[in-house]
Amino acid sequence: MKYFRFIWKNVFRKKSRAFLTLASIVLVLVLIVVLSSLLEAMEYDTGRTKGAANVVVQHATGLGNFMPLAYRQKIEQIPGVVAVAPQIWFGGIYIDERPQNFFGQLSTDPDVWAIVHDDYTIPGDQLKAWQSERDSFIAGRQLIDRYGWKIGDRIQLKGTYISMNLDLELRGVYTGPDESNIFFHNKYLENSFVGRLSQTGIFYLRTEAPERVPAICDAINRMFENSDAPVKAMPEKQFMLQFTEMMGNVKLLVRSIALTVLFTVVLIVANTMAMSARERVTQIAVIRAMGFRRRQVLVLVLSEAIVLALLGGVAGAAGSFPFTWGLIWLMKKTPVAMFAYNIKISGATLITAFAASVAIGVLAGFVPAIRSARISIVDGLRQVA
């Protein structure tokens, strides 16, 4: 520690160089933080704990196919199942087709909604009001902020794959992990839509405990195995993962980008350190003549690189917050808007960024440090810089 001042002075020996190197480290760390937050959002990993006891049942062929509503009673009888809500993804158009006006629209059974979605909260009177009016809906807090809806407002949704339009009145606002959806009565859909009257897209159900989920999924799958419409039951997380898996090898792509980015910044920082070490051959020869050992010189130069990288790391982590907010704002205008709401900077991501900056420092400082340690005193002193 007593050499810290020496290291610090050397880091900022050339102000403009130190600033430029820091700036590139900061930018790269911002990128790393943003990319790993993106990955986490795609893996649906952002701090959801309660969803572990939930199961989603869909048609075995794929999501585009519907299942008989009559399955509900059979599923409800399976031991361990607390409540079952049939839900249909309406996918309607609100205002216009632009992606920023897209949000999840789900029909559900309001009587069991609060049980199956027990990680959501809604004021009791609002829940009652919603349950009692067939043409009403509730919306997540985020949507309320986005559109400025007030209780009693009406919205119109134009159907896309379900050929009907909805006219709904806002009766409540819920808060919870995913506040980007609205929920409305499935009776409203059933009564107005002929043909799929007795069918549903998915069953969303709550089980007694996460440990019971695998057995219940098996029981449901076996129950309808030989019917006209076989089903696939799975934990909620796995259901959500389907959507990101469908985006193909995006995760691999993002990972390889992050690695390349890291490698690039190591090159840049290593180059800076090498230049700085080359210019200081005389200085190093002098301290060696004063009695510093080779190993100490190595540690000193290496520490410089690490100090520089850590400074960049701290600034980069701090700087990544506004960048992430900007990215979320931009992403809301694309078809992947639904992932935008899941993006959060987690503690794990910040630790990754911190580790990355240490790695940058060590990797970039290693070669210049060894070279500096190898300088022979006589040659170093003879050289006129």
């Binding site: 050339k14 160089r17 430029l20 190197t21 700036a23 590139s24 930018l27 790269v28 911002v30 990128l31 943003v34 990319l35 048609h59 075995a60 062929t61 794929g62 999501l63 585009g64 196919n65 996918g91 158009i93 087709e97 992606p99 896309t160 794959y161 050929s163 419409a229 076989p230 696939k232 389907q242 959507f243 898996e245 469908m246 985006m247 193909g248 090898n249 995006v250 792509l253 993002v254 980008i257 390349t260 980015v261 490698f263 690039t264 910044v265 090159l267 840049i268 290593a270 180059n271 800076t272 090498a274 230049m275 210019e279 990215l327 931009l330 992403m331 694309t334 078809p335 992947v336 006129v384």
Partner: protein, 392 residues
């Protein structure tokens, strides 16, 4: 008279390690940019590959794709009575009712994805002309649960070999042939017999869409207008090419990622170049002063150093483009897929590293060099001759 460019180039060569690292840094930025952009370009190219400009696809009003659409038998009959339809050798209008079903099946890596199974009648092949043709095996037989798959899909799904069985829920199709759809979106689909798909999907009351071939481009526009105006049909018609280009939004998030990463990295890499150039200027102060004393003006010194930095950028750009080219040609030859947001199925495509993209990558690297060299060059130009020459 300018300072010979050779002076700068030789200087770049003399400090091999430093130049090499800076060039490699810029090259990697260009590589990342090009690879991600060629992914987006692949999606675009697939959706822009025209099948036939005379084809019109008829969907339910409001449906964004045939997956969301429904057309009844009566509506299909009504479409057949419209004017301007091309006719086949048998004198029948070229109208193809089609039913699409999404099936969820595993890929080679074990993960599952959605694939479109399109039920068609033989007329569908006439309407697509030569752009959908059988390359291996045989055509499926009408009334059986046989199917043909595309060449791209065969590389991506283990079950898609001749004799293989596609299983999804209770639905089963046996693969008997392989087709090639000339890089169009149909290369992401499985084609089977219309009536069999209707039966297996329990959707016998109608179709997803109706594709019709117009006799000429004027007739196509009249056909589109006729469907829109017909109160009895109550459907929406769009030219098939427009239908696919409307789905271009699929490439947007990838392009966005490419620009986002590339711009941040580019700023970082030009800071690196700037460092290198600053170090050069301070190591060569006496040289610069000598040049100035010889009569080269400040402006010429400035241009000379900017050029040196641009050369650094150009070397990086060329190297980056070369790396990207090698990677795309050697390692990324297999088709890859992403979710098409309009159909909810996977769309398959190949990486497309077009000459235009390569050019944009090189321009990008020149910009990095220019930006990185400007300030150090300005410092070089401002050096005071007397002070520098007096030193040491």
């Amino acid at each position: 008279m300018g300072i010979p460019l050779q002076y700068n180039l030789r200087n770049l060569v003399v400090r091999k390690v430093s130049t090499g690292m800076t060039v490699l840094g810029i090259a990697l930025v260009v590589t990342v940019f090009l690879l991600v952009m060629s992914l987006a370009e692949g999606v675009r190219k697939t959706l822009a590959t025209a099948v036939s400009p005379l084809n019109v696809i008829v969907l339910r009003v409001g449906a964004q794709s045939d997956v969301q659409s429904y057309v009844s038998r009566d509506q299909d009959e009504a479409i057949r009575t419209l004017d301007g339809l091309a006719r086949g050798a048998d004198g029948q209008p070229l109208v193809s009712p089609e039913l699409v079903v999404l099936i969820n099946i595993p890929k080679r890596d074990g993960k599952r994805t959605n694939v479109i199974v399109r039920g068609v009648e033989p007329v569908a092949f006439t309407i697509r002309g030569d752009s959908v043709r059988l390359v291996e095996g045989r055509m499926f037989q009408t009334g059986t649960s046989e199917a043909i798959v595309s060449t791209r899909e065969r590389q991506r799904f283990p079950s898609m070999t001749i004799g293989g069985v596609l299983k999804a829920g209770s639905e089963r199709w046996t693969v008997v042939g392989v087709f090639d759809a000339a890089g169009s979106p149909y290369d992401s689909e499985v084609w089977a017999d219309l009536h069999n798909v209707q039966d297996q999907a329990h959707r016998t009351t109608g179709f997803s869409s109706v594709v019709a071939r117009a006799s000429d481009s004027g007739a196509r526009d009249r056909l589109v207008a006729a469907v829109q105006g017909d109160l009895c049909i109550k459907l929406e018609a769009i030219p098939e090419n427009d239908y696919f280009s409307k789905q271009m939004g699929t490439a947007k998030p990838i392009e966005f990622l490419a620009y986002f990463v590339a711009i941040i990295m580019a700023v970082g890499a030009s800071f690196g170049a700037m460092n290198t150039m600053y170090a050069q200027v301070s190591a060569r102060t006496r040289e610069i002063a000598t040049l100035r004393a010889l009569g080269f003006s400040r402006a010429i010194v400035l241009v000379s150093f900017v050029l040196e930095s641009v050369a650094l950028g150009l070397a990086g750009g060329l190297l980056g483009a070369a790396i990207a080219l090698v990677v795309v040609r050697l390692f990324l030859t297999a088709p890859t897929g992403t979710s098409n947001f309009a159909t909810f199925a996977e769309i398959l495509f190949n990486f497309q590293l077009t000459p235009a993209l390569v050019a944009s990558g090189v321009v990008f690297s020149l910009a990095m060099g220019l930006f990185g060299g400007l300030f150090p060059a300005a410092r070089a130009a401002r050096l005071k001759i007397i002070n520098v020459l007096r030193e040491a």
